[in-house]
Assembly symmetry: D2
Homo-oligomer: 339 residues x 4
């Protein structure tokens, strides 16, 4: 089986590097409309074949799997054609530009009996996985709230807002950690540089469990921040992706809440304890992700980041975008996930 | 003239220390209902007189000025009696627990011809003042947005929410910097530990100029943060009050926005430049504040942090609390201040 | 019993504050030649008596203990007179300006049966004590080397070098941790600002156990550093006194050395592990120190930082100063301490 | 002209990457005794030719330049053969394993009229170059001292000490900045893990101008440090290579030394000022270095890091190694460089 990468732009070369290194593939084809990008790809990865003809990719029986790294608006239409051509499909995040399209992709994958996976890369990253272990083990106690900052001096995109560009990461991380999707989404923001393209946004989420979250995203901040704090009853976890060494820190400090039994009033005690920065593995998330896609193709396993996972993120993005446009919060179903 | 400090609790000793050191006072009287607190005060500042009788303070013709450091709910009623007794009044932040009370205090001060000042201490702090200079000088260019985090493991208050406890600082700082009060206030939060007392909140503000802000406050986070980022068209300013040395940093990096002239599309260029941490003076904000109060008494000058300043903060706090309770944003008048 | 503090200069007020708070004392007398300093002392601590007459202190039968915070060159002569007047003696670090004087003080204390204690304050500080526990428990494994930086923009002293001013801290900490005194001292430095007064020095130590150390001290560096790294076979400990929260960090990373059995060559494996910043108590070291002095007076216990401890530090300081002057290393006896 | 890279080990691939990208070359040949390494090289850089035959490289008239990335002990013998074969020579740092060999290389290069360049890569790195500009412009004032820490958990080398492994970087940087070579070298260290192979060392240098330096190097420290502080009369510069953003910081704080006019005593004043982290370019030092080598070949210019530069570093390394072995400082000539 060969695999095809469609889209040789900003993110494409990272996927190509991992495809070329993937064992068991009979070849890698890269498809893009732009011959200059194809030439660069060929230069860097001489073993790949290149083509400008998407139909040829679809018609090639040797190509069993397609990875889409094209603009968001094309994920739906191109992805559908891949599945209809009976090939396994990997789509860069977000899965689609609307829930309608995301659902179509899921149905098409079911109908064809093909694997559908979305590139929520952070769900394969060592700090996110380690944090998940701690949360699942109850180390933090009940989670109170989550605060996220993802700001930097970004590439302004002409077609999508900062929400569609940056927030898929955080939605996929949070839903994965909490094992639920939000029932309330409110977004507040501004289009500071290009009118009509929001470049800073603050998003509030509420989950069925009661957990609340605030996510700040911006393309305008010269000091890059990638900081997520999960505050629980027992401990607080800080995940800082700009740190080289101490990406994850666990603060054993918190408020002990003693039930007011006979005393007639609330009693609070304050503890402070050790701070631990756990050891993390060095595995490249993208490599884990690509290997997982081919593993699922071989074994028939359902991907960790399957169509449903992609849909949840798209649904929340859509809600955030709607909220930003209308100025009103959006209420969603809010589901407990069986993870 | 003597001065009286009413309230010898958590914050009282800091005011007492500065009152005792204030030149030109004929004495300092400390008033509290709790004799233990008075005894401690006397031990630490042997020169002060102490009393449990608030009426005696009001009736003492030698006492020309009163400083209130009592619980928020008492600011209005006690403050009114001070002004009605024809004494100058300093009230710890926030000025009052409602706009109605704040307005009463302002009217009473006007009627009595006495100085009314509110303890927005940060408006006297070197980093906030230096930041104001930079903003006023246009060093940041047009301001796009402001992001504030003020979280720590706090003392839970039984009577007020985290909004009334922590946000007065940030409202007073932001209104001072921007020279305007907000036209939109939305608050989102949760009462994690004590039911009915919100202990984490995210507040969104929009100002008449278009500037937006997000303020995160919490009593539950073991890793203390005091970080305010002001992102402008030319530069970004970060004020981190937990830093010992580099409290203020100016990032000369940003997006240059070139108008689209003949080209038919937007052009953006990215710059990066030096980072500067300016020298700051070592003056104690509280000392500056107390001196300013007595300076205004002597000269008849209007305090920087006058009743109107206190009212604006109370109005926005009230709006935030209402929004948190109702789940809806609150629209305010939003005024340009003549500062 | 009353206690007398002699020397009301830079460090004196800190001792005075702790003396005034010390339970069981019948009074505190402060003695200094400078009436301005005495007046300030009186202003800040109204309960103290003041005097310019050192002989009156010695002759006062109510005064049972004297604390010396005078210039280093006076520690020996003044201290001797205190002990000869049959009073307990606390001397600020370093104990004396020469080993000869330090030995005289020890003999005089023995002869008089009085307590002699030296103010090696860091031996009472929570991070140093916690580090000692870890080292003693073998958590670091065999210690390989220690690296110390103690630099800042210092007060230049007219009479002593940066070695006598800053290194007593590090010598007392290191000897305490390692339970040995050095057999080799080499110093290298320069008098950059005032000719004849070295203001930067690098000191190399070797201990009988084989441990080596490098200590950098300077008065000239605008960015303050207080960093001590202890590198062991199993773990590395970093003590950074400028950190507010994470003063102590333990790095569980290191080289495992497997003995070369049949393989004919050395085998090394690398591990990396968690980083832990342990919880520390908030006790003020100086308070612990002053309490320990009075505890020893009452119980007859030998102080942790006794004359022998002071002598070891003075001996190493003398060696470092000699090495700096002559350009040659100084070899000392190097003793294992029974701690 | 083709270029040949000899040595495909740890560092070789980095050179290969830059050779392949170098314009104007007719081809790149990689030579190594190990066929596995050659195969990996070929895989990664399919355009290169590979060979195990060093003689074939020397005999190939198309190959005009050779880059040596072999073990230190082979730099001299292999380099001589390259120059005798009339080819231009680039040698990874350090230039040779002794001053005798280094001089032979210089003579051979002169005799053959070929370019001889040593890979002091840091002299091409943006922070080092920016620091040099500041120093040359007198921004720091007279330099007082330099303190260097270069420690990490390193690969233990079986054949050379930590001095030959890590110190070439710092010697080349310091000599470049100061424009002089040291007149005094003293080294102190220990072989903690493998007997006979020092893995921690502290090196003291004195320069003819009076500047002193302390360099700490170790393979044993789990917390990586790359910090160089240059303390001058006016300012202090800190270069921290582990920082992502603020690699260089300039502290405008220092001691002003006023000459003692009529006052009969020294007067010192203390200033503190801004801290600036200047913008740095993103150029890859290795790329600049490789381009410089080919630029010198084409133009006949003398390389910045020529044989004399390499010799100075080797001379100081030899002195440090001797000092470490004998326990005595080594006195060198100490030259002012015409840079």
């Amino acid at each position: 089986m060969k695999a095809a990468l469609v889209g040789a732009g900003y993110w494409g070369p990272n996927l190509a590097r991992n495809l070329v290194a993937q064992r068991g593939l009979d070849g890698v084809v890269v498809c893009d409309l732009d011959p200059v990008k194809l030439e660069k790809m060929k230069e860097r990865f001489p073993s790949v074949e290149t083509t400008r003809d998407f139909d040829a990719v679809l018609g090639d029986p040797e190509i069993g799997a397609v990875l889409l790294a094209t603009p968001i608006s094309t994920h739906g239409p191109l992805g559908l054609r891949v599945l209809e051509a009976n090939k396994h499909l990997f789509v860069e995040k977000p899965l689609a530009s609307s829930t309608a399209e995301a659902r179509q992709l899921m149905q098409a994958a079911d109908a064809a009996g093909r694997v559908l996976m979305v590139g929520h890369t952070f769900e394969f990253s060592p700090p996110v996985l380690r944090a998940k272990e701690m949360i699942d083990a109850g180390e933090l106690g009940d989670i109170f709230f989550i605060s996220v900052m993802r700001v930097n001096l970004g590439l302004h995109q002409r077609d999508v807002s900062v929400i569609w560009d940056l927030v898929p990461h955080d939605f996929s991380i949070l839903f994965h950690w909490l094992k639920e999707s939000p029932c309330y989404v409110n977004a507040f923001g501004r289009d500071c540089v290009q009118k009509g393209i929001p470049d800073v946004a603050f998003i509030n989420l509420r989950f069925p469990s009661g957990v609340i979250a605030n996510i700040e995203v911006a393309w305008l901040a010269p000091s890059k921040l990638r900081r997520t704090a999960v505050v629980g009853q027992k401990k607080m976890l800080v995940y800082d992706d700009t740190e080289n060494v101490e990406k994850l820190k666990l603060y054993d400090q918190g408020v002990d809440f003693h039930d007011p039994e006979t005393f007639g009033e609330y009693q609070l005690s304050y503890r402070t304890g050790d701070i631990v920065s756990p050891r993390l593995s060095n595995q490249e998330p993208l490599r884990m992700e690509v290997e997982h896609f081919f593993h699922c193709i071989q074994t028939g396993e359902r991907p960790k980041t399957d169509g449903a996972s992609g849909l949840r993120v798209v649904e929340a993005l859509e809600a955030a975008e709607t909220s930003l446009r209308t100025g009103h919060p959006v209420h969603l179903e809010g589901r407990r996930l069986d993870a």
